[in-house]
């Protein structure tokens, strides 16, 4: 390390700091905004002069936000579970079985990954109105699980290809029943990939805005990103800036937690699915 030299280290240090600042500054700014009280909201400071929880108290007092939070969590979780379950089955087949039509499946998922969601908004809007699932959880779960399926299939099949499946046979030779071999050998090997995929799919559903504003009309199914866009101030003389900032911070927390705890896995999942195919 000594040979690397001080200037070299300094240069990397500066570069790293630049990258970290680039990534975190806008997040810090909106967080700072959320802790300012209305009198200092407009001072443009990076650090609030007066820290207050007022904005948070405000949004948690309204059903507009709490209901949206419940919707967001519920819809994203259910979509994730379904997409990962269907994706696991398909990815297992893609990674391990030989059957005609595999290429078609992969091509089709690729097409859907590229599909412009706006193209589905008008037909889905009409279909959902006609069959009565407009503005319901189901109405959002359906497009979410569909659009996250390609992501799930790619990421999972990349992970499954890396699993040493022979271990299962070895376990059977050692006297394990098929169920035991599956439960004690394959599940632990496959779990990290499934888990990583679930995180990526969850982030995807959590993030969506277009379907959320198009396929909902009331608090019944509106998720937080859509609800934020419709926030009005607590009184008509007040801009909703503080509330929006606070709500924004609340829905950023799960993302920050995922990133902090599962950084390595998320990177592996994103790149394995997209590059190695």
């Amino acid at each position: 390390m000594a040979a690397v030299g001080k200037t070299h280290a300094t240069r990397w240090g500066v570069l790293n700091v630049v990258v970290v600042l680039y990534a975190l500054f806008p997040v810090w700014w909106i967080a700072a905004l959320s802790f300012k009280d209305p009198s200092t909201l407009t001072d443009g400071d990076y650090i609030p002069r007066e820290w207050t929880w007022e904005n948070y108290r405000g949004i948690f007092d309204t059903s507009e936000f709490t209901r949206a939070l419940v919707n967001s969590i519920g819809i994203a979780l259910i979509s994730t579970v379904i997409a990962v379950a269907l994706g696991t089955m398909a990815a297992y087949a893609v990674a391990r079985l030989r059957f005609p039509g595999k290429k078609v499946l992969i091509g089709m998922s690729l097409l859907i990954a590229m599909f412009p969601p706006i193209s589905l908004v008008s037909p889905l809007f009409n279909i959902e109105r006609i069959i009565g699932i407009f503005d319901t959880w189901i109405g959002l779960i359906i497009p979410y699980m569909t659009f996250s399926l390609p992501l799930a299939i790619y990421t999972l099949s990349a992970f499954f290809r890396e699993i040493p499946w022979d271990l299962e046979k070895a376990a059977k030779v050692d006297g394990a029943t098929p169920a035991q071999a599956f439960r004690m050998v394959i599940v632990p090997l496959a779990a990290p990939g499934v888990f990583t995929t679930a995180i990526l799919v969850f982030i995807f559903c959590w993030n969506d805005f277009l379907f959320a504003i198009s396929l909902t009309s009331t608090e019944a199914a509106r998720t937080v990103p859509a609800a934020i866009a419709f926030f009005t101030g607590s009184s008509q003389f007040q801009q909703p800036t503080g509330s929006i900032a606070a709500a924004a911070v609340v829905i950023t927390i799960p993302i920050i937690l995922f990133v902090l705890f599962f950084q390595r896995r998320i990177v592996a999942g994103l790149t394995s699915g997209a590059v190695k195919g």
Binding site: V4, H8, W12, N16, V19, Y22, P26, V27, I30, T42, G44, D45, L86, G87, M89, A90, A93, V94, R96, L97, R98, F99, G101, L105, I106, G107, S109, L110, M114, P116, P117, I118, S119, L120, S122, P123, L124, I127, P143, T146, L149, Y154, S157, A181, I186, F209, L210, P225, I228, A229, T241, A248, Q263, V267, L270, S272, A274, V275, K276, G277
Partner: protein, 316 residues
């Protein structure tokens, strides 16, 4: 489920015996494997078809109708006249060029920045974990949240960035400055994704090849352009393809930053407005179909012209 499915290459002893006896075109094991394969893929395929193929067909049907939600009784078949109306409208072309401009400029900037970011992540000698973790934040953050952060930053009398400008400037209310700010927000949010894809490509460049080039006296720039870039070409093309298609669909950032005012709306914004502000399902659907065709052309160009190996193409 794994009990019936064995790797295709190595049939278990019992099945090998059976395979030996039947010289039929397909052994029982292979047929079983085939059935299982279809069975496992069926739910995913059905969902994907039901939720995309059917609605896009329905969108084509709707786009041939005069269908205004305010006057549903007057719905009737009008042939291609919705397309004629859209394609001769300046709103469509304005939105189209704006979208194209945002797509090309932001993807170009992202490629350069993303490459830099990937090199930093790949080469940095310390803090590697911290850098990767913080870079994932823009990737994961809800686009609407990031867009609000930018919007407030550029709002006069509120934001830190607006303070840097001469007072009275409201960059989000003028077309060109607003477009650049939209691009900035887009670039900030998606460069990390680009960088991660490129990082995966960088990991495939063998260290020995770089060393050999160095021994041969190649400058760092030569090593980058002559050794790394050619080896990374597949990763670069996939990253470009994904980001181009994604950028063309831009919606959230514009919706929050300008709402599409001052001619800053993308085609997606136009489609949304026609549907939910004008309540015109016929025109809205025609726009949907046109966007779908645009995306198809972009994807086709990438795959055919540049030979972007779509992920999955390498699947054995």
């Amino acid at each position: 489920m794994s009990t019936q499915a064995e790797p295709a290459g190595a049939p278990p002893p019992a099945e090998a015996e059976r395979t030996g006896r039947h010289r039929a075109p397909l052994s029982a094991g292979a047929r079983q494997e085939r059935r299982l394969g279809w069975l496992l893929c069926a739910p995913a395929v059905i969902v994907m078809l039901a939720v995309t193929a059917y609605p896009i067909g329905y969108a084509v049907y709707l786009s041939l109708q005069r269908y205004d939600l305010r006057f549903p009784a007057q719905a009737e078949f009008v042939g291609l006249s919705n397309y004629g109306a859209v394609l001769t409208s300046e709103f469509w072309w304005d939105a189209f060029w704006v979208t194209l401009f945002i797509t090309v400029v932001s993807v170009a900037i992202e490629l350069v920045l993303g490459m830099g970011l990937a090199l930093v992540m790949h080469r940095t000698i310390f803090w590697r974990g911290t850098v990767r973790t913080s870079v994932l934040v823009p990737y994961g953050i809800v686009t609407v949240v990031a867009a609000f952060s930018w919007q407030y930053a550029w709002t006069p009398d509120l934001g830190y960035l607006a303070e840097l400008l001469p007072s009275g400037d409201a960059p989000l209310t003028e077309m060109w400055s607003a477009l650049w700010l939209i691009i900035l927000a887009e670039v900030w949010k998606t460069t990390p994704f680009m960088a991660l894809l490129l990082l995966a490509g960088l990991a495939l460049v063998p260290e020995e090849t770089l060393k050999a080039a160095m021994v041969d006296g190649a400058t760092p720039w030569q090593r980058f352009t002559k050794v790394m870039v050619p080896l990374m070409k597949p990763a670069i093309l996939v990253a470009l393809l994904f980001r181009t298609l994604d950028a063309f669909r831009i919606f959230d950032n514009i919706y929050v930053l300008t709402g599409g005012a001052q001619n800053t709306g993308s085609v997606s914004i136009l489609g949304y407005d026609n549907l939910f502000t004008a309540l015109n399902l016929g025109i809205g659907s025609a726009i949907s179909v046109l966007i779908f065709i645009c995306v198809g052309i972009i994807a086709f160009t990438f795959v055919k012209l540049f030979g972007a190996a779509a992920p999955g193409a390498e699947v054995k």
